[in-house]
Structure formats: structure tokens, C-alpha cells
Amino acid sequence: EAAYGQEMNIQFSDVSCNSVAQKIYVELNNTVPCVRLLNATHQIGCQSSISGDTGVIHVLESEADLEWPLSKGPNPPYMVLLESSLFTKSIMMKMKNASSRVAGVVVVQKTSPPEFSPHTTCPNENTGVYTETYDHNLAHCNTTVWNPRGNGLSYEEFDSPVFSLKEDNETEVIKQCYFDHNRVVNGSGLQYPLCAMQLFSHMHAVTDTATCMRRSSMDFSTSPVMVCDPLGGYNVCAFIRPYNSTAFGHKENESVVIAAARLDSRAFFLEDSTGAEGSVSGFVTLLAAAQALREATQEAPPTRNILFAFFHGEVFDYIGSSRMVYDMKNNMFVIDLDNVHSILEIGQVAVRSGTNLFLHSDPVSRRNNTVHDEVGVKCFYLWHASLTDFSQPLPPSSFQRLLRARAIPGIVLADHQTDINNRYYESFYDNAAHLNLTYPSNLSPEEQLEFVTDTAKSLTEVATAVARALFKQAGGNNSQVNKINADPKTVTQMLYGFLVRSNNSWFQAVMAPELKDILQPNPPQYYVGVAKSSHQANALTYLVQYLLANLTGTATNLTQSQCKKPDELPNESTYLYSYLWVQGVVPPNSTQRESFCVRTAVRLVKAVSPAFDLGDYISKEYSTWTKSQWKFIKARIFLVASRDLEMLTLGVGVAVLFTSLLVTYFVRTKADVLFSSVREPNNAAY
């Protein structure tokens, strides 16, 4: 994406060059900026000017205190520092309208407010199935508003930079600087020099996706500047009975039940996306269900195949699922839409009131009797969940994209009956604390990994129900059903790894050696990111891929070199399976890991919106989201002098210049008087 400018502390002779800058500026390193995203019609996000935006720091204490930067303060422009509880739509909109006096906003993350959702009230309303033509009454969330707390802040456009800081040493430095220099004393005016902050987040792209893609491709200069990149990633797919991965199109006599979940999330500050209830609850449940089904499907394979599909990019107008449907329609996927029997999608399932689970279905497709009966059958398998109102539409889910193509029977499983239970939908407060993921305080990280929390137990129940329903839906033998149980230990380990700390012993054991650097001491990033041209996915995709491989695949005896080229062996086939070399556990009495080769049906399928393949950047059908590029993003604080002092310095300098010119002129004209000399050659020089 962009290169970060970093200051190198060279030890030797250059110290004298750098130290002046270091004495003036304090660089802030752990910042998360708000960046610009574009789609077919709009640009959203934030933009700074190309040489950064500077403002005098003002720490906002309450909403009433906004008067100071907006009207009363004598030293505009101001850089407003907010705590997260004051990061509300009304305050942000007031500052947006006064952009001449507010140079930028910095949000310091502290306590979470009781509810906050910067997403829209009707997520993905234009790319779901409920359009005006499908059903006029259900379009645009006319019947049910799914995210009533949504204030749409993530989809607003700001023309000043907005950054986010965590509460740490750097924030202390800023607060100290503010208290030393910027505090108002007894209502009297502030004394210069004042503490100021400068934010650089100049975005290259502007207007909309069509403009920025056109400008990216047409630059005539010698070093073309890329202006924006399409969003996208990889979907993770696994069949329980894999097909030949090179044979695309319809498969005769094959009927597939799709089990789907969403991988990604977003927040106002994209790099800070957590998505605990929004996406983690769903895909962890599906991973646990996949593990629960492994033995039963191997002993007594059901008549229909099951596809576990983890879609990426769903927040941004269903990138992953629209891509899969497009591939299926154009014979670029191993099955096509005729092979799809039904779909069970797992939505947000972690914030349950009691033991309630609800099944959402689409009323329009159920007007067809076959679809209605099939949905009824599915509901029967998930017998301890309740059906929602017949006339209520589906919540935002990947199933809607499949319905747009074909009336397939399907159910979305969720913990909410009408609007969602998630108070922090698509915000950076949707984290482990929101799910009440608490561990006793005296446990070490490894002990926390093994501790089974209540959230994990609750999700295990859901996973067991899902696995049994899938088994029966796929025509499995009824006598085997009660042996299918999800493992609470797996669920709690996954919740720990995805919401608290991804660098733990279990995740290390299932990852490949070359990918172990993606494991960090904090949770992974849930934002989908830009589609990279190389075959590289982001950390979340790899984690889900390797976990699914571990939970549904089989360990083999192959050596590392055999694992790279398994086709040479008689019983292995890279058409059907993929072979992954994983690190394995460290046995108690040694330091070497017992690595091994996993044979798995898990594949990564490219998930980039079809609009970019088709070149249709104004598409209303597919997602057109792109992210702007930038050169560098940084923030720094320094002391700033008053305007008057600056003008005075400039004036004095100009005066000295003119005086010196005058003096030189006079000296030159009166040179013969001033430098009277007997010698001729001096005068002859003229």
C-alpha cells in the first residue's frame, strides 16, 4: 500500500543533523488513521491537505466545551482531542461543519460507551436481495431496521484528518504538553507558544471508483502513481467430499448443502477492526461444527455433499459471496447453482438472551411451495431454535446474494429475533469484553487458552445444533446424529486466539513455519484489506484456512519434500486435496517441533468483486469499493509560535534585506570617496 517514512537514528556523524528536528518535533508512532474509501458513487472517510494539517491542541471535556474550538477560542485552527465516550455523531458533525476552525480530530480510546455503531442502519441495502423489484415492501429496511443504533459515521466524508490513539505513553506526552502550555488561566487569553499537533494523511484518490481507476491506468509520466486499490481477499472453502479442482461447472447428480459464515468486519478506523459478535461468533461456530462433523462424515458419508464457505469482504457490499455466485454462474467454480441444494448461514450468535436462537428465512422465495417445504424441513432439524415472523425479511447475510441469483431454500441462524442484539455493530468496541470473555485473573496466557469460558460453552451448543442439522440436511444416517458434538475446548481456544491473543501455542502448532510471523500478541485484524496481486492473503484468512485444515483434514506420514510434491506418490492427488506442512506441537521433553503434513480439502478462492473483472466501475450489481493510496501517514506534536511573531520575524528579515541592498548601493556609488586609493589599477577595474 504505502511506505512509512521512518527516522533512522544514525549513531555517528549525522546526529548533529537529526537532533534539531528531534528537539522540535515529537513523533507519534502508534496512530491509526481514518482513510478514504470510494465506491461507484461516493467517497467516504477522511482527507488531510498535502502538507499536513496543523492545529493548536484542545482537549474536549464535554459537548458544551465544543464552543471553544468552534467559536470562542482565539487561536484557530484547533486540533480537537476527544475521549472515546465523546466520539459521537453530533460532535463529529458539528466539527465537520466548522472545518475552517477545526484542523483535525484525534480520538483517544478509553472506556466504551453503552452503545455505539458507526455503520448504517440498513447494512448493504443496495446489494442484498431486497430491491424494489424483488419486493417493494421489504426494500430499504422498510419492515425491520436491522441496526437501529447505527449513526452512519463510517460512511460520512470528512475533509480534515481523524486519527485514533491508544491510551499509552504517547498520549501522556500529549496531555502533558497540553497542560503545560494550552490551559486557559482564569479566562484570560492563552500565552504563546502553544502546543500544536500536525497530522498527515493525504489521500490520492478522489470522487469515486471510476475516476480513480481511470487515473491509475492512464498516467503518462515515467513513474505512474497508483491512486486506489480494489478491496478484496480470499474466501476459504472446503467440501467434505472434494471435487477435482480443475473441473469447473455443473457436476451431474451432485447436491451440495452450503454452510456459510462471514469472516470480516470493519470499524470507523479500518485498521482497528475487532468484530467479535459481528463475525467471530459466526465463523468460530462454523469451524467447531466442521470439526464435529468430521468423524461422522468419514464413517458414514451422507448422500449430499457439504460445503463450508467462509466469505471475506461481506461488509463491503458482499464481495466474497457475490464473487462466488458470479463464479458459479460462469462455470468458474467446481459446482454451479444447480448443484446447490440449500444453505445454512450462521450470523451473529454470541449475544443470546437466555438460550434463544432464531431462524430467519426469506418470505418472498417461500411463496414457492417447494422452497417453503424445504425450509420447513431445515427448521425442523434445528428444533430448539425458534422461527421468526414469516413476513420478516432476511438480515444482512451472504445468503441474500445467492437468493439474488436463484431461489434457494435457506436459513440464517442468529441470536436476534428482529433487530440485531449487537450494540457495537461494526465498531472497535465489538471485542472480547463485549462478549463477556473473562478469565480468572491468576491464569497465565497458556492457562487462559485452555480455560472454558461461558461464552465458549454457549457457542459450543450452537455449533452442536448446527452440525447435527447439517448432517441431517445432507441426508446422513439418523442413528449417527447423537454422536455429533462440538468440542468446547476447541471453541474456547479459538475464541482466545481470535479475540485475545493470536500468538498462542495451539495456533502456533497449526500454522505453517513460514507464516508464523502473522501470529501477534494481540487479536488479528478483521478488515478485509486490498486485494493483492500476489497470492498473499491477510492474517485472518491464513488462520481460518489452517484451522479448518487442522479440524477437518487428516495428518499424513509424508516428509516435508513429499508434502511439497505429493503427486509423485500413488495415493495422493493435488487435484482433490491440498497438502500443507504445519509446525505441530512441541513435545514436553524436547525443543523441536513435530511438524507434519496435513492433507485437506480446504482451498482459498479469490474474492474480488466481479465489477473489477468486468471493468464496470459504476456497477449497481456488484461491490465497487476501493481504498485510496497514500504516500505516508504520520502525526507529530510541537510548540508553535504566534502568527504575530512569525510575521514580525519575516518583516525584520525583509527589512534587513532591503537595508543591506541600500547600503551596498550607496557604498558602490561612493566607492571612490570611501576607498580612496592612490593606485590606478583599482579604478581601471571599472
Binding site: 482527507q47 498535502i50 493525504h202 489521500m203 490520492h204 484518490a205 478522489v206 470522487t207 475516476t211 481511470r214 487515473r215 492512464m218 498516467d219 503518462f220 509520466s221 502513481v225 491512486v227
Partner: protein, 101 residues
Amino acid sequence: MNLERLPNEEKLTLCRKYYFGGFAFLPFLWLVNVVWFFKEAFVEPTYTEQLQIKTYVKRSGLGFLLWVAVLTTWITIFQHFRAEWGEVGDYLSFTIPLGIP
């Protein structure tokens, strides 16, 4: 080059060369013509070739002013409307500014 040292015929040839050269879409040649030969054409005492030099200088001056008018009008229009012209504006540009429409 110091014009005082040239004979008058050569001054005329030089002025004529610059005058005709300016027709090849080179208005700065006309500007040079005007600035350089201004003293020769209007200040110096009369000599035979001065009349022709005078006409060349006058015409060069007119041509230059015409170029200035045309270019100023086009540049003002382009700078003002480039953003609104969208695709056409981008195709007409050599370097497109980043981050502004």
C-alpha cells in the same frame, strides 16, 4: 550580441528571421524581437532599414499579445472547469493532481 556593431542590413535580416520564426508557434521569438529591436525601431535616429524593422517589431508585438490573450483564456477555462469535465478533463491532462477532484 551587441546590435551596435552590426551593419543595418544585418539588423534587418535578424529582425526578419525572428519575425518569421515566430509563426512556427513560437511566440517567445516575437517577444524577443520586440524587446531587442525596440530601441532600434523607435529610439534610434532614422536610417533606411528602420521602417521595415519598425513594421516587423509592431507585428511581432501584436502577434505576441494575441498569443497571450488566447493562452490566458484557455488556461483560465481549463483550470476552472477541468474538475467538472470529468473524463475529458483527465484525458486532456498530462499530470493529474492527487487527492483533489
